[in-house]
Amino acid sequence: MSIQIRVENFSGPLDLLLHLIKSHEMDIYDIRIVEITEQYLTIIEQMQQLDLDVAGEFLLMAATLVHIKSRMLLPVSEDVGEEEEDPRAELVKRLLEYQRYKDVAELFQQLPQLERDIFLGQFQLADFFEGDSEENEVAIGIYQLADAFHQLMKDQPVESFHEVVRESLSVATYIERIVEKLTEKIRLSFREFFSAEFSRNELIVTFLATLELVKMRAVNIEQVDAFSEIWLALSIPPDQLSQISPEKDLLGYE
């Protein structure tokens, strides 16, 4: 009989054990541990002979059974005041609990299931409202968030971060920063741009970026008197600023 038992038909050692108990018509509260251990070990052995990859969990259960068997064989000491627990107790508890969920699992299988037994209307509102279709938006939770980060990090070389920050010293990036600041404040003095903390290279790039913006007619430079403060101001409405970005590639300063 046991020859037909294959480990992959069981979702785990508890499943296998339950099967053995049932097929030997044992009472789950009074498992004949010697017999069941023997049966269990035979199956495990056969599986190993068949060169099956016997999962660690099945071996662990084998060890548990052997341990319970040995405790059952020990003579019960009469002097002990408290009643000793049946060595099988924990296993029985686990088996009963497992049996419950196994039953529920079978019931789940029988419940009418969406897309298998029950179907929804396929009417798509988006077909009507062209234009505001939402590029495959999905509802997300913590898992999706963590998964997204996990996926991104899988492809990243370790700690390549700091270099990047330094490398971002491109004219395009600085154009964006200037625009960002100008969107906030509309008018800014030159001095506010050229912060004292700037490195030489950054000063140059910031300057080039400013010139580029002037060339694109996105920014005006104003100076009231010679040597007085130089002011930068946006010359186009902020909502048109996005049109600046496509030209980034054409800059060629990088």
């Binding site: 979702s11 999962a55 508890k93 609990e97 299931q113 029950i118």
Partner: protein, 186 residues
């Protein structure tokens, strides 16, 4: 509003998920007290007539669904998008459904096997969700079933799950002994 019924019906029909009373109230700009009787009426109307679909109460909301008896026919639309579950996946789902919030360690103790892979599959299928971390050393993640789980199995809410006692009823010996505390359903 005379056409509230029409509007409610249209919203439920056009929504991609079940619509709750709250949501319907916001959408129709009408108090819930007005919407509830409309829903009641719709539920009755659809239940009374022999229709191809009916108004179902799912995941705390309302949704039109085809009737179960037509399943063999409707499968011919051959959409074949059904989720197929392994035994391991259903067991894991069952444990989490009843014990939520459940940690991976609990699930693995109850099943007797490593369940990481199965859990990841269920998470990917959006049937589980992470509920946060448990306030015990190591702060393990806690898992529960998702809204999509309710939708998939056509459950109103978690209380709609068959009670474990009902299960025990299938096996009289188990009731007598009932060695395990009935798990509160979250």
């Amino acid at each position: 509003m005379n056409n509230l019924r029409q509007l409610v019906e249209a919203f439920i029909f056009a929504s991609d998920g079940p619509l709750s009373l709250d949501r319907l109230s916001v959408l129709t700009e009408q108090p819930k007290a007005l919407i509830r009787p409309v829903i009641e009426q719709l539920l009755q109307d659809y239940a009374a007539s022999e229709r191809g679909f009916y108004l179902a109460e799912i995941a705390g909301g309302y949704q039109f669904r085809t009737v179960a008896e037509l399943a063999p026919w409707l499968r011919k639309l051959s959409k074949d998008r059904a989720t197929r579950f392994s035994k391991a996946a259903l067991e894991t789902l069952a444990i989490i459904a009843y014990r939520q919030p459940a940690t991976r360690a609990e699930i693995e103790y109850l099943r007797g096997v490593d369940s990481g892979g199965v859990m990841k599959t269920l998470l990917d299928k959006n049937l589980l969700r992470i509920l946060g971390k448990k306030d015990v050393p190591g702060r393990p993640m806690m898992y529960g079933t998702s809204r999509h789980f309710l939708e998939l199995f056509g459950l109103r809410d978690l209380n709609d799950l068959p009670t474990l006692k009902e299960f025990a009823a299938l096996d009289p010996e188990m009731i007598e002994a009932d060695p395990l505390d009935p798990e509160p359903v979250g």
